[in-house]
């Protein structure tokens, strides 16, 4: 989870390093900690540290983690020579290491020779069938080939063994979303919310998926989850506020014939609408007219 302070810290370090100031090692550590994918910057600044023997020796034992990080960034930027050199140096230092073997498998993947990479990963799995990272690389390989249904089958089998891996649940949810299998995606998001209940982004995506599926019960659940997102973010998430307004008007449209409780629904919608108008007045006053007319049309149709 990247919080706002961490993001501002990261961008500050990035601009500092780009403009020639020091702090490249701090930037690389922060990138590794936050798990962001800034491969071009990592490659450039990592190589500047590694090519300078003085800075390299100042790192001590962290030098090898830096080699690994630069190798992965080089593969991402398609600089395969750099990646091959880094892996060769790592292989010389750690001769029998599985971690270096995984990097070599990733290099084969990046080169495009997927059958050889698959052979290498399968041999790793024979030695140790519970190696999580190798399983995930196999799934990524199948995904890279474009065979999404087979990737879904593989992730399901992986999750039968390793049920607590929330990265895999997230990947499965995104794959289902790409195939428009929204009910299964909703199940995955439920698992994610169970494992990380204080993260408002999962509540928001779950509500979006429920709203997409449609139907009266799903719309009511979606409204509840948009409301919980607003609760978790202190009312600052504009998407959730819009979601509440849209859900209320959709529910009212669906239940036009029956006399369900209207008062609670419209109360929440009017609160959300007021919050949105206040926010727009503060940040984008020239768009306030658009917003008010859109909200009015939502309320009229209910």
């Amino acid at each position: 989870m990247v919080t706002k302070t961490e993001e501002s810290q990261l961008s500050r370090l990035e601009s500092q390093v780009d403009n020639g100031g020091g702090g490249a090692w701090d930037f690389l550590c922060l990138v590794r900690k936050l798990k962001v994918r800034r491969s071009d910057k990592v490659l450039k600044h990592g190589l500047s540290i590694l090519n300078d023997p003085k800075k390299r020796s100042a790192l001590g034992p962290h030098e090898w983690t830096l080699y690994e990080q630069v190798a992965i960034a080089a593969m991402d930027c398609q600089s395969l020579e750099v990646a091959k050199d880094c892996i060769k140096i790592l292989r010389r230092r750690f001769p029998g290491s599985k971690r270096v073997g995984r990097l070599e498998g990733m290099l084969l993947e990046a080169k495009g020779s997927l059958p050889e990479a698959e052979k290498a990963y399968l041999s790793f799995l024979e030695e140790n069938p519970f190696d999580q990272v190798v399983h995930k690389r196999m799934i990524a390989m199948v995904k890279a080939q474009g065979d999404i249904t087979r990737a879904i089958g593989l992730i399901n089998k992986y999750l039968e063994t390793f049920m607590a891996d929330h990265d895999a649940w997230r990947e499965l949810a995104e794959l289902y979303n790409s195939l428009q299998m929204y009910k299964q995606a909703a199940f995955c998001y439920e698992e994610l919310i169970l494992s990380q209940p204080t993260n408002p982004l999962y509540h928001l995506t779950y509500a979006d998926v429920l709203y997409t599926i449609g139907g009266l019960e799903n719309l009511q659940m979606a409204k509840k989850y948009y409301a919980s997102t607003i609760n978790l973010t202190g009312g600052k998430n504009r998407r959730a506020l819009f979601g509440v307004c849209l859900c209320t008007s959709a529910i009212a449209q669906l239940s036009k014939g029956r006399n369900k409780e209207d008062k609670d629904g419209t109360h929440l919608q009017s609160l959300a609408a007021t919050a949105l108008e206040k926010d727009y007045k503060q940040r984008a006053p020239d768009k306030l007219q658009l917003l008010s007319s859109a909200l009015k049309s939502l309320r009229v149709s209910s």
Binding site: K4, L47, C77, V133, A140, A144
Partner: protein, 106 residues
Amino acid sequence: MGFGFTVGVFGVLILSHAAYSTIQYRGLLKIMEEEFSGPPLTVFGELVVGLILCMWAALTVPGKFLSIHPDSEENRIVSLPENLDFMIFNHRGRVFPSQVDLKLNH
């Protein structure tokens, strides 16, 4: 930081001095064969002073307190970490011209 630390040490010394004088007072009362109702008033004053000093040191020495509200502006979750375990390499960045001068020099 150094000043807060010395204040804390001073506070602990005052508290231990209060404890020592209470024990001495109790010994004195035993000699005079009177009952020990409570430590003398000076010790109470010393205890209050020691408490204030120690609390002040405990709050200032560890440094800046971090915010714990999940909805405060600095704790707002901006983005989820990218799923690096499932990273694939055949994306559109592959056709960008790679910088030729990037090389590992050893």
